[in-house]
């Protein structure tokens, strides 16, 4: 390495000089502009600092001993500054302690290694105030260590950028491109340094690509800052879009477009539930969002909604503010919609609970009958029977006992019907398919039944299905004047589908309505649907669809 100047490793002195001036001026100007546009962001000051440090490092071209020494000592700083700026874009903050440690040690290494190298003197010439001994070998070794260390830092920063790109859900697209461009720039610097450290050829293409990336970076930042201004014109589109009163479901899409964040989520505040919920009324947790940012939208001191978005949007508070302002009324509408959905959901839940509670009561009642009165009556009948065997002598007593046993048998039959009416234990015990067989067998109208279900279904579902078939068959027997009926029960697409069809007179009216209403309640409590087609003279078709959870 004949002329192992780091600046010279980048190329011809004239180009280097121009690039250095360009970097200094453009970084400082862009930084000032960013500072003015976003006083709350640290990115502007950071860019100004980068530009200034770059300027200081160019002092190594002066002949004054002090400025030369200072400039040389800071000669390795520019790549670290690029790295810092790239990593801190766009907020001006590094994201975590690892990144801060990385950048801090890069700064320390850049200065320390260069200062160490200068103490060995060598090619630095007469203006080097730090020279202690002239040892060219040691100077060359230190240079190599310095170049390799700097390229290692650059590659580590590339790793951070790539991880950041992968880790975050749906980065805004422009941001993804920027991150890629930064990564490419840092890889270029690393390649250039590695090549210089081993005396390798400074490949022209790498060199120009590096120039382009480093030189264009301030323009890219400027463009990103200007784009934030342009984004505000998307608020105008949002105004127009909201003017046509979009459906609540379209509001999120409109906001996502206006904010240029396809990952945007919208949650509405439900004051009565004291939580945020989506449009369907399902609660949304605003914690542990995997690195995503939240902007709460309040009006007159009341919560209205929350935007869950790409954290990059936080650097554009004006955009967020104007979008919120534009969406005010539409957000309020969406909030009301979400609240309505939450109430409907609650109502559905409470209806299901009421049906289930009633069912449990009935089940208990049936169980008590079964274990109590029914068992006792059977035992009583048995005892009477045994008693009869011991009083052979008196025919009057025997007749009396037989009479009593007939009464007991009649009571047992009545009790059995009552118990069955209260709760069909066979459904709970043995399932829908078994229970439906008895219903079909007992029907006074011939029934053709096809029941295609394997195994058991949730009990509430089986009971609802049983009642639908039972009530329909009762209606057919009482009113339809049908000659045949058909039952189809099958699972289709996660739903239990029941269809009961007869060939009777149709025109089922309100006199049969109350039974059907009760059935609809049961079915709807399970999120199902019950429909009845009953054209006059055209038979009746009852169809129930109940989701199988």
């Amino acid at each position: 390495m004949r002329n192992p100047d780091v600046g010279a490793a980048l190329g011809e002195p004239l180009v280097v000089a121009l690039l250095a001036k360009w970097l200094t001026v453009s970084y400082i100007l862009c930084g000032l502009y960013a500072w003015w546009r976003r006083p709350e962001s640290r990115f502007g000051p950071l860019m100004v600092a980068a530009g200034f440090a770059n300027f200081v490092s160019t002092l190594s071209w002066t002949t004054n001993d002090v400025t030369f020494t200072l400039g040389q000592a800071l000669d390795l700083l520019p790549p670290v500054l690029f790295m810092h700026v790239f990593l801190a874009f766009p907020s001006g903050h590094l994201r975590d302690s690892f990144e801060r440690a990385l950048v801090a040690s890069a700064y320390v290494a850049a200065v320390a290694l260069q200062v160490t190298r200068m103490t060995f003197g060598g090619f630095f010439g007469p203006h080097n105030l730090l020279e202690i001994t002239a040892n060219e070998d040691a100077a060359l070794l230190t240079l190599r260590v310095a170049l390799l260390t700097m390229s290692a830092f650059c590659l580590a920063a590339v790793g951070v950028l790539l991880l950041r790109r992968r880790g975050r859900r749906a980065l805004r697209r422009s941001r993804v491109l920027l991150v890629d461009a930064f990564a490419v720039g840092l890889v270029m610097i690393a390649l250039l340094y590695i090549s210089a450290a081993f005396d390798g050829p400074a490949v022209r293409q790498i060199r120009w690509a590096t120039f382009a990336t480093l030189g264009l970076a301030p323009l890219v930042f400027l463009a990103a800052l200007l784009k934030a201004r342009l984004d505000r014109s998307s608020v105008g589109d949002l105004f127009l879009e909201l003017h046509s009163e979009p459906a609540p479901g379209d509001l999120r899409d409109a906001l996502a477009r206006a904010l240029r964040d396809p990952s945007l989520q919208l949650a509405y505040w439900l004051p009565d539930y004291e939580c945020y919920a989506d449009l369907q009324g399902q609660p949304v947790e605003l914690e542990d969002l995997d690195g995503r940012a939240i902007t709460l939208i309040d009006r007159d001191g009341e919560h209205v909604a929350a935007l869950i978005h790409d954290p990059a949007l936080q650097d554009e508070p004006e955009l967020l503010d104007s979008v919120q302002a534009a969406a005010g009324i539409a957000l309020e509408n969406g909030r009301l919609h979400a609240e309505l959905q939450a109430r409907l959901e609650e109502l559905r839940g409470s209806r299901a609970r009421i049906v289930e509670a009633a069912q449990n009561e009935r089940q208990l009642l049936e169980r008590n009958l079964h274990d109590g009165a029914q068992q006792r009556l059977i035992a009583l009948s048995l005892n009477l029977s045994l008693l009869k065997g011991r009083v052979d002598g008196d025919p009057k007593i025997a007749t009396g006992i037989d009479q009593a046993r007939r009464e007991i048998a009649a009571s047992l039959n009545e009790l059995r019907e009552i118990a069955r009416g209260i709760h069909p234990a066979v459904v709970s015990g043995h399932g829908l398919a078994v229970a439906l067989e008895q219903l079909a067998a007992r029907s006074p109208v011939p029934v053709d039944s096809r029941v295609e279900i394997d195994g058991r279904l949730p009990e509430q579902l089986e009971l609802a299905a049983y009642y639908v078939v039972s009530e329909s068959l009762t209606n057919i027997a009482k009113h339809a004047q049908a000659t045949t009926a058909r039952i189809d029960v099958a699972k289709e697409n996660g739903e239990l589908v029941l269809e009961i069809v007869d060939d009777g007179i149709g025109g089922a009216d309100s006199e049969r309505g109350s039974g059907l209403r009760g059935l609809a309640d049961r079915v709807e409590a399970l999120n199902g649907r019950l429909r009845v087609w009953t054209p006059r003279g055209g038979g009746t078709r009852v169809r129930a669809e109940i989701p199988c959870r």
């Binding site: 169980r367 079964h370 274990d371 029914q374 068992q375 006792r376 059977i378 035992a379 009948s381 048995l382 005892n383 009477l384 029977s385 045994l386 065997g389 046993r405 007991i408 048998a409 047992l412 059995r416 118990a419 069955r420 234990a425 066979v426 709970s428 015990g429 043995h430 398919a433 078994v434 229970a435 439906l436 067989e437 008895q438 067998a441 007992r442 029907s443 006074p444 109208v445 011939p446 029934v447 000659t483 045949t484």
Partner: protein
Amino acid sequence: MQVAIAEDSVLLREGVARVLDDAGFDVVAECENADDLMAKVRSVPPDVVIMDIRLPPTHNDEGLQAALELRAQHPSVGVLVLSQYVEVGLAMKLLADSAEGVGYLLKDRIGDVNDFVAAVRRVAEGGSALDPIIVSTLLARQRPDDPIANLTPREREVLELMASGSSNQGIADSLVITVRAVEKYVSSIFSKLGLPSTGTESRRVLAVLLYLRS
């Protein structure tokens, strides 16, 4: 004849045990639940098991499952299931493909001591005992072009008794007619229903049930 009983109501369990004891059975086990019954049957298989279809702990289908398991694992043990409801679907499940050594009666039938004891004996000896309600439900079942309607009232009575598992002798006794007359009715019924006449009495039970159910 050895009998094991599984019934969770003490009142009924003891009542049944007493009736069977009086009738000369040897009650070898009285169990409260299905697990206990299965363990006892495994150690000393009795001739017949009498069990409630609803047994602890859940009172859902433990009884039926135990009965099916017994039928599969101990074909020589007769299984008589008692229940407070009789269901065609359960009867078909219990019989599956054979009516040999199986019974399914309404619990109320315990009160008719003589009939009940006869049913237990029949099941113990490999015959069948189906509750009259099952048979009459199936018979009453409406079907288009019903061949049952072509039966004479007497033939219908014979069919009912036959389907519930009675032997020819039993049918003759119940209807106070001769066994030869019963045989004549049976063959007439089979030809009217278009069924091939089958050998054993329990086989014809299944044939008739399947016919009535279809």
